[in-house]
């Protein structure tokens, strides 16, 4: 079944092409003089109608472009949902194993070991529960994916908000967090003892604050270069564009990006993104 709106759109363009060809051929055949014998009001009406049709065509073009963008976002969302479901399925399998261990410990009467084991699992459950409760499914899926698939690095999410009013579109959000987490994971892998990455999501004064910490540090002489396009500490593994992209997206959506780094304190990248009401009040 052909899309009627698109056919109408095509017809509008064809009408304009037809009228243009008609006027051009009439001019070439020197029959323009006869066209101008038509009452002026008819010519004015035709010109106004064609002008309106042009506007309609442009409006339809813009609507179709927006629809395409919405479809891309929906597709990205679907993909992230799929990843979240896969990660949760993997966790479910994990918990089946935990239950077996718990049963074994209970059956063998190892009460203290059982207590300690249950404490660890409930902490894990609580974390997962908080991540899954995030209203931004894409962010939840990204964190779950990193937790499930990253080897040799412990990812600790600390969730203090539900991201219900996130103003940044999902695909941009994935770009921001994905790049920052990848950088943190890369550095954490280099650390033998402190191979942790902590991601904390909270709210502060109309902004959502995303803090990504790892134990690595950036030398002070590189502080000015960190956001430059092409700069990387990853050698051949890095494109040098990640932080530059993050900086541009954050700026585009009225946010702020900063970092602190020290040998003892590790490196924290902090992203402030305005909540939706904040964006509205700024526009007003």
């Amino acid at each position: 079944m052909i899309n009627k709106r698109q056919i109408l759109f095509l017809n509008l363009i064809q009408l304009q092409v037809f009228l243009s060809c008609y006027l051009a051929i009439s001019y070439l055949n020197h029959s323009m003089a006869h066209i101008f014998e038509i009452p002026a009001i008819i010519v004015v009406i035709i010109v106004v109608l064609v002008g309106l049709l042009c506007l309609l065509t442009v409006k339809e073009l813009l609507r179709l472009a927006k629809k395409e963008k919405d479809a891309e976002i929906a597709l990205a969302r679907l993909e992230e949902n799929r990843i979240l479901i896969d990660a949760l399925k993997a966790k479910q399998h994990d918990f089946a194993n935990h239950l077996q261990v718990l049963y074994g410990l209970f059956y063998s009467g190892e009460k203290s070991a059982l207590k300690s084991y249950m404490k660890d699992i409930s902490k894990d459950l609580n974390t997962l529960d908080k991540v899954a409760s995030l209203k931004s499914v894409e962010v939840a899926a990204l964190i779950c994916k990193k937790m499930a698939l990253t080897e040799n690095v412990v990812i600790e999410p600390v969730i203090k908000t539900d991201l219900g009013n996130l103003s940044v579109p999902p695909d941009k959000m994935i770009s921001i967090l994905g790049n920052l987490m990848d950088n943190a994971i890369y550095e954490a892998k280099k650390q033998k003892d402190e191979n942790k990455v902590r991601i904390e999501i909270s709210e502060n004064d109309g902004y959502y604050v995303f803090e990504i910490w790892n134990h690595g540090h950036i030398p002070p002489e590189l502080f000015d270069k960190v956001f430059e396009p092409g700069f990387t500490t990853k050698g051949k593994d890095g494109s040098g564009m990640g932080l530059n992209i993050v900086k541009n997206i954050v700026k585009q959506y009225g946010g702020r990006l900063e970092f602190v780094s020290g040998e003892d304190t590790g490196t924290t990248f902090r992203v402030y993104l305005p909540q939706k009401e904040e964006m509205l009040s700024k526009t007003n």
């Binding site: 079944m1 052909i2 899309n3 009627k4 698109q6 056919i7 109408l8 095509l10 017809n11 064809q14 009408l15 092409v17 037809f18 060809c21 008609y22 051009a24 051929i25 009439s26 070439l28 055949n29 029959s31 006869h34 066209i35 038509i38």
Partner: protein, 159 residues
């Protein structure tokens, strides 16, 4: 009115090509009886409209607009097509004819022939008339051999 032979040897042929190609570019085909009925009605319309213009001494030019409207009506009501397809097919066909008329004019000027000579001679009129269909024939070839349609070219998908 013009010689009736022009209707049978030129206008009906052009109408058949016009209707077939116009609809084919939208991925539509008419059954042969319907195609012949629409082509017949349109071919006859060309003959009548041009005849009326000649009788009343109306300068040619605006007859194209009238014929475009008539083509749309015949495709819609005799061809039983949706109105949007009928509009598209008639506009496409007539645009190709307009471009073809420029081509014919180009050929006539290149050969240094006077239009009066062509129009006064029945068979020259028919011969040069068919050169107007050059772009229709080109689009027919594209459709036949490469399956070209606007639906595919502009990715017009389902609702």
């Amino acid at each position: 009115m013009e010689d009736i032979k022009i209707l049978f040897f030129y206008y009906l042929g052009e109408a058949l090509l016009l209707v077939f190609v116009g609809l084919a570019l939208f991925g539509r085909r008419l059954s042969w009886p319907r195609l012949l009925a629409v082509s017949g009605a349109y071919g006859f319309s060309i003959w009548v409209v041009r005849g009326v213009y000649k009788i009343y001494g109306i300068p040619f030019g605006s007859h194209t607009l009238i014929l475009t409207l008539l083509l749309f009506l015949w495709i819609k009501f005799i061809g039983k097509m949706d109105w949007d397809i009928a509009v598209g097919a008639s506009l496409t066909g007539m645009t190709l004819i307009l471009l073809g008329s420029w081509f014919t004019d180009f050929i006539v000027n290149k050969l240094n022939i006077k239009w009066r000579l062509i129009l006064d001679n029945l068979w020259l009129h028919i011969l040069f008339g068919y050169t107007e269909n050059i772009f229709l024939i080109l689009m027919l070839a594209l459709n036949k051999f490469f399956n070209f349609t606007f639906v595919k070219a502009f990715n017009i998908g389902a609702d």
